[in-house]
Symmetry: D2
Subunit: 343 residues, 4 copies
Amino acid sequence: MGIRVGIVGGTGYTGVELLRLLARHPEVELAAITSRGDAGRPVSDMFPSLRGHVDLAFSDPAQAGLERCDAVFFATPNGIAMQQVPALLDAGVKVIDLAADFRLKDEASWEKWYGMPHACPEVLKGAVYGLPEVNREQVRSAQLVANPGCYPTAVQLGFIPLIEAGVVDRASLIADAKSGVSGAGRKAEVHTLFAEAGDNFKAYGVPGHRHLPEIRQGLAAVAGEEVGLTFVPHLTPLIRGIHATLYARLTKDCDLQALFENRYRGERFVDVLPAGSHPETRSVRASNNCRIAVHRPQGGDTVVVLSVIDNLVKGAAGQAVQNMNLMFGFAESCGLELVPVLP
Amino acid sequence: MGIRVGIVGGTGYTGVELLRLLARHPEVELAAITSRGDAGRPVSDMFPSLRGHVDLAFSDPAQAGLERCDAVFFATPNGIAMQQVPALLDAGVKVIDLAADFRLKDEASWEKWYGMPHACPEVLKGAVYGLPEVNREQVRSAQLVANPGCYPTAVQLGFIPLIEAGVVDRASLIADAKSGVSGAGRKAEVHTLFAEAGDNFKAYGVPGHRHLPEIRQGLAAVAGEEVGLTFVPHLTPLIRGIHATLYARLTKDCDLQALFENRYRGERFVDVLPAGSHPETRSVRASNNCRIAVHRPQGGDTVVVLSVIDNLVKGAAGQAVQNMNLMFGFAESCGLELVPVLP
Amino acid sequence: MGIRVGIVGGTGYTGVELLRLLARHPEVELAAITSRGDAGRPVSDMFPSLRGHVDLAFSDPAQAGLERCDAVFFATPNGIAMQQVPALLDAGVKVIDLAADFRLKDEASWEKWYGMPHACPEVLKGAVYGLPEVNREQVRSAQLVANPGCYPTAVQLGFIPLIEAGVVDRASLIADAKSGVSGAGRKAEVHTLFAEAGDNFKAYGVPGHRHLPEIRQGLAAVAGEEVGLTFVPHLTPLIRGIHATLYARLTKDCDLQALFENRYRGERFVDVLPAGSHPETRSVRASNNCRIAVHRPQGGDTVVVLSVIDNLVKGAAGQAVQNMNLMFGFAESCGLELVPVLP
Amino acid sequence: MGIRVGIVGGTGYTGVELLRLLARHPEVELAAITSRGDAGRPVSDMFPSLRGHVDLAFSDPAQAGLERCDAVFFATPNGIAMQQVPALLDAGVKVIDLAADFRLKDEASWEKWYGMPHACPEVLKGAVYGLPEVNREQVRSAQLVANPGCYPTAVQLGFIPLIEAGVVDRASLIADAKSGVSGAGRKAEVHTLFAEAGDNFKAYGVPGHRHLPEIRQGLAAVAGEEVGLTFVPHLTPLIRGIHATLYARLTKDCDLQALFENRYRGERFVDVLPAGSHPETRSVRASNNCRIAVHRPQGGDTVVVLSVIDNLVKGAAGQAVQNMNLMFGFAESCGLELVPVLP
């Protein structure tokens, strides 16, 4: 019947997306989905899209028997997982946290950006940052995976070939990123109402966004030294999708197209488009793909990388399932052979 | 390797949706996709969403070898299939036409509504109208299936239980239907531009729409007599989705909820929601489901039925695959176990 | 300097729309805008669109000096105005309530539909229902105007010519209405989030919506007897706009086009389109117009009326200003000569 | 009765927006609107939003009597105005071209980027580039104004204070710009269909966009030397609006907020927001404003400027009217006192 899987916090967008993917995963048995506020309510009552696919009701976290699961996903707000993960690890459960609790290695930095003390800093070190295209082997043997943020996934996948090859100035990277509104979650807030976010475009968090230290940490790990990054996120009237437009100053001539193609050859979920392409967010909608194009406008010394993902799939639930597949020795693409939905 | 399948006219929305579904269908080998204008161009070049899933190039219709296919889908504008179908039928190919060429049984009516002479009126009689929830057995043995229109699917599935049970006035039915913009196809036209159809809502075709005679014919077949129907279609700023709001005058008291649940018990793709529900189009997005709710406001004598489908799936490509499954003896839901994409 | 005007509850969509209109109204001096939660905050800080046009800060209701205004608009949730209006009336202030507190004449009906006791039922009788195309003379001399709801405005303007002329069956009217999401207000709620209401379409309130008794009351007043109405509202992914599709059974032959043109001849804000037209919501976007077309499909006995308004203008703030103009003897279109914004 | 104004090419979005603005302009009499394909058709038949505001019919260009107008706007595709402008100039008419025919001073550059020979290169030199915040005095006395492109307006207004003050590296400017779909015009094309551009985000023209030389020319004029610019435009699912996110490397410390406020003090249509702000496109919707914020993230040496306009107003028709006002000695904001439409 497959491994027993639990989901903590099943009422947000990453939760319902996990359900969409796991409901059809051949190696998974959905054992529990928790929601403090909606315990007892059938999942398909809140999400009629799941009628006929998910028969569970939300259960109270305390009675969900998560410690008897093989794997538990946390699709909770930041600060929840770190309260519960140590006990699950002790019980031998493998854990994938889709929130930010274990993404930053540096406790002080985490506490600064997330505005609270960390509940289990001793666990931070052992957590593996779950970007399989970088850390595949560590993920395979991890007991706790910190699933990357949506922006960090799109931005890192776009910069990594350049950083690894040492062909750009690492001190002056720029990431201009645009996200669909589902990235803000399913919380009732004024600024993400249809009549606020629709037919509207804006930047936010320019002075500093929580994904900045995460991206810097990831790129520094690849570079072997600190990197300088300006990161500007924007809200765009899409439901799903992230488009990262990345700028770097070329310091060494090279065949950029070949560099990217070689770096991602064999990667099932990273697709380097032909030279001259402009990836669209909808070309990955509802799928676990990242599509990337690299440009050098007018042959100058600025490299422009365009990187798109679906923030709820490769940017959240899909990458989490990809990590689960690795952790349990399933085929990496198991349950993720999703053809993007277009139009 | 499965049956060999060809698609005529693969560059529109019903074509690319067929590709999305057939690319993952375990019993199908995609043999040919034709496009007069784009012959030789890789399909995934036009639709990057299909990179990694479809390796074919568009082929010229004359050289596609369609007569060697087991099944051929026509995803062409009205008036094309009728030119080519007779030869394919003679060659023993099973054909599913997603356009309107074989939907109306009456030649004169077809010519009136479609404004051209019919190229093979003798074939009309043998074509089976492919609404499996009504004509399942005939579809199983059909060689030519006329795949229903998108509005007609949503409207008929909503009215059928009432008509069959004889509990409403058949002379005064009203169907107020709203469609997403993909229903207008992938033609370059001003009125479906983003800046025209976006943030805008309008009715169209009130004096008469081509789906009116199709719905009337279908309901009359069920009723055993002519029906009176007012049909008002609207364009709404969705990409995918049809919402039909149906009104009928109750002539006999009955348990409407039970009536609907009984009628569709066992139907894999028609889901009767609990009493009091309001189905959303997104609850079926990218899936082959129709979800229906029935209301009797304030206990009066007006029945209100709410019926939603994805116009490109149950309203086109998905229903076509459902018909193919029946024609070839596959499980009816083979390749159609799609979890709706929400949000 | 014009009349002194106060707005109670300036932080919602009807409030900010009143500000947009009144900021350019030549006969108005904006004296106060209240908000309990945002007192002291500059209005243009919350709504940067008003920078350079509105210099006021929100003031605390208790200190706003509303009783010294010539006119006060209530742009508050239901149940607020009725607490404060009697005192203002006593002070000689003219009041326009954009909420529902004074719309229903029958206290019991009001309490049933709004779920609370009415705070000043004695005032109900004197309130004038502010649909100028019906009650223009009463509005001129009113001290308290109940500004109609958005749906009721679109629906009544569409039905009135038919009802007045007595050419349709008054017992079986159907109003299928579609609203943009701004109609739900600027409250933080999940179901109106961009990622919920975007790319989605649904009916709601089919068992009974608060605008039903309001429409019935208005049509009954015109008819001189009760009317039977089925009213189904829908949420459509527009920001602004209502499209009402109305159905009635014709009981007497007549020239429908002439009927409508004659009824609204001379009305500045009701535009009867040429025969065969389909009004779009965007054709009235950001303006105080209602545009109407009347159809009789296939010459049958069903009349179809299409009626569009901008729910925030003719459906709320614009109609309120129109009423104010009448109450103070200004030109009825003063400050309302708005050219719709298209695209 | 005001000056007599003609519009050549009134069927596109810049044309209909000119009509919206000029219909209410107190100093203007609309004399003629031409359209080769729609001559004789009432303007309000094509654009029902203008019913009651514009009574003209489209006229044939040859019979429109444009040479008897005081001012003529060209709202035509590139390459049309240059055919007709010399004769109008000879007749003493003042001309404002909203297309690109007179924007580039260098004939060779124009021919390279626009792919055709220029019909009247001798006129190029005398044309004034109509960005009033830079060239106000020249515009006042111009007979021919080249109205700036939409991207160039947003980008230049954001960079100009930095360039003029000499505080950034002029060799490595980056402009990441996002445009609503109306910027692509009202042509029937597949890529701007609702079902293509909706719920989708993409970059385009990264190898080179026609607005690149225009921006470079404008900034070079301000800088007194060539500038290095990387320009990446994106298509975002808005109807109206441009958001430019600009990056520059700071070479000299300075008070950026004061720099911007001082530069634009007294400018009616450029609004520098308080420090820390993030302008939204909707805050300028349907108005002639540009709103700008300047940031220096984490106190580093990268300056980030956020600049928003409505591409059809300050980016096209509004700026054209602003130029007309200057050319005829009207108040610069005459007819442009538009309160942005929000939501």
